[in-house]
Amino acid sequence: MAAFRNSLGLRSALLSLLIFAGIVVFWQIATQPTAGTGAAVDPEYAKLVGAAAATGSKSAMPTPADIGATIFKHLSDPFYVRGSNDKGIGVQLAYSLGRVLLGFGLAALVAVPLGFLIGMSPLVYRALDPFIQILKPVSPLAWMPLALYTIKDSAISSIFVIFICSVWPMLINTAFGVASVRREWLNVARTLEVGPLRTAFKVILPAAAPTIMTGMRISIGIAWLVIVAAEMLVGGTGIGYFVWNEWNNLSIANIVTAILLIGLVGLLLDQGLARLTRLVTYPE
């Protein structure tokens, strides 16, 4: 008992479980099928409409048990392909992940070197600052019509949207990290007559790495948020398309399944980058 009281991890895990159980119970109660108006409906009519409409009410939210069954159904066969518009949820997630990683990778390739330049030169920093400040808060989806119109390819457009939304946090963080490298370290490097390239790689990069990685962590979070919306808009493949397709069918159980999986993948992406950040962090 004492061990239990002392272990924060165990206690928090128990509390999490309790909260989860509470949510499920509340949900179950809230979605109890209501009796409806009980009006006697023509049996021929009843056969033509859904179960809820036959008793004179609207179709209800699915119960936790329905959701559980749907999740099981999806997870037991995640990689099927039954035609171009019907693919398993695993395949859809893979499409979305591929797009996110591609857009994010391109953004990193652009943002890190550019951020380096900006961070090292106060002049460029100030000159580019207004552009960055204006473009940064633009919702990535606002780029979509423009991208579709100019790029004329929906697959590349969605990657472009990921690129444009994940480039800013990385750019700003890199510039900030590079600009705030301690003066003394640079001075030491200068005293030892280290070349500028070597200074960049051996002093500035390791010093700024934690800040850069934080920028990347923010970026991948945003990218994963955006991909769902972008795919709902463009359609075709991906987890966002899956959500949209199930919305067509008003299938809340499938949508909840997708929401849980999107959250799970987002968590994994975030944790992956958090681990990388810890690798490059140094004690001062």
Binding site: V49, A53, G56, N85, S154
Partner: protein
């Protein structure tokens, strides 16, 4: 002219314009008798006729030959030198398509039935095409993807190719509509809470959804409320919402109703959210809705692919127009890959025996019908409404635009080639809510309305 009027064999009545030796009045009946109903047979007959014409350039010789030896022997004799079977097959495939792997975009609604069902039911494959039908999220996206040439052909609303060709709402790109998909098949759905407000005069302040600004839905809803004295721009609000989102919005009480495509009218009933106020068929029986469209560029650069595609669509549309096939179609297009809807919803729409949302079961076999012929009169009516509501500012030559975009001539010749009988392109009467439309005087028609923007 100088024939003996007392000779029983001579034909005195005015000859049919088709050139056949019969009276004009008898044309339809005779054609119906002469043309086999099974499509395979129709095609075979076209091929046989071509072969026989080649063997006997002089028709009298052919008739003499047939009279002497009999049809069966003649067929066997010709088959021994010229394999009729192979010729029939070669014809069925047409010239080799320039592009075999095609992408056709569609919106998941029952209007697209022929485009969609042609995939699972093999109508594309029969023409030697490998078509991928791609589900698309909304009309603006399908327009942009088509303009970007991501799709080789696409399902559009019938006013869209007109709008695209004229550059209304996008850059002007010559677009063509060789086939209409469906006629009728739309409905006005209202939220259940409005079940006592059946008179449009009570609809002041209602929020309505239509699928797109350039849609028959928009024009019909505007026409309907305007006939009841409401100004669609001032007394109600109309917003454009992608069809799949209409039911969700109705449920969330974001809108009071919509004039939308099926399955979403029936789906609102199925989920107990709305009821069907009226079918658009009651406003204009036989109105066009969705269309099969291609860019002019695709049609001219890939003539064989275009023809094969059009053939598949006409073929599928003809198949879908038969009531006895409708249940089978509902089953084919219900899965997740296509419409992703409960089969019973689609069956109610296609068979026309449906729940109205207020506890009644209605029957109307023509709730939705399929007829590929792109009447130019339809285009002129649509243009007149674009003009009426201020979408079209400039003066246009209605008839010319209509003929440029709605390719009635192409469709007619294709139908003939397939052994079908195309209708007379000049004979189409349009009556909307009891008011006749004269395609020769579209401007007078626009001027005749009290509520208009131009």
């Amino acid at each position: 002219m100088f024939q003996d009027p007392f000779d029983a064999k001579s034909l005195l009545a005015r000859r049919c314009p088709c050139g056949g030796a019969h009276a004009a009045a008898d044309h339809d009946r005779l054609v119906a008798q002469a043309v086999p109903s099974a499509e395979e047979e129709r095609w075979n007959r076209v091929v046989d006729a071509a072969v026989l014409r080649a063997v006997f350039p002089v028709d009298a010789q052919r008739r003499l030959f047939l009279k002497t030896v009999g049809a069966a022997t003649a067929m066997a004799a010709i088959s021994s030198v010229l394999p009729l079977g192979a010729a029939r097959e070669a014809f069925a495939q047409g010239g080799a398509p320039e592009k075999k792997d095609l992408k056709v975009g569609f919106i998941p609604i029952t209007c697209a039935t022929p485009i969609i069902m042609a995939h699972p039911m093999g109508f594309y494959a029969k023409q030697g095409l490998n078509v991928e039908v791609v589900k698309t999220a909304g009309w603006a996206v399908i327009r942009d993807k088509s303009l970007a040439k991501e799709y080789d052909a696409a399902h559009m609303l019938s006013p869209m190719p007109l709008a695209i060709s004229l550059g209304v709402g996008s850059n002007p790109v010559p677009w063509a509509m060789p086939a209409i998909e469906n006629i009728n098949g739309q409905a006005i759905t209202l939220a259940i809470k409005h079940k006592d407000k059946r008179d449009p005069k009570d609809w002041k302040g209602f929020r309505f959804a239509v699928p797109f600004d350039y849609s028959m839905h928009n024009y019909l809803l505007r026409y309907y409320v305007a006939e009841h004295g409401l100004d669609p721009d001032k007394d109600i609000s109309i917003r454009s919402v992608p069809p799949p989102e209409m039911v969700a919005n109705l449920r969330a009480d974001n809108i009071d109703g919509y004039l939308g495509p099926d399955p979403f009218n029936q789906r609102a009933v199925y989920d107990g959210i709305g009821f069907i106020h009226l079918l658009t068929k009651e406003l204009w029986d036989g109105h066009p809705c969705c269309a099969f469209t291609v860019s002019k560029e695709f049609a001219t650069q890939n003539p064989n692919s275009y023809r094969a595609l059009l053939k598949a669509i006409i073929d599928a549309t003809t198949f879908a127009s038969k009531a006895e096939n409708r249940k089978e179609i509902a089953k084919a297009i219900a899965p997740q890959n296509y419409l992703n809807q409960p089969e019973t919803v689609l069956e109610q729409i296609l068979t026309g025996t449906y729940a109205d949302g207020l506890g009644g079961v209605k029957r109307d076999a023509n709730r939705i019908d399929f007829d590929p012929f792109p009447w130019n009169q339809f285009a002129i009516w649509i243009l007149s409404q674009m003009k009426r509501w201020g979408q079209l500012k400039a003066d246009v030559d209605y008839a010319k635009v209509a003929a440029d975009v709605f390719l009635a001539t192409d469709t007619a010749s294709m139908m003939k080639e397939m052994g079908l009988v195309p209708p007379d392109p000049s004979k189409k009467t349009i009556v909307v809510m009891g008011k006749p439309f004269d395609p020769a005087k579209p401007d007078d028609y626009v001027a005749s309305f009290a509520i208009k923007r131009s």
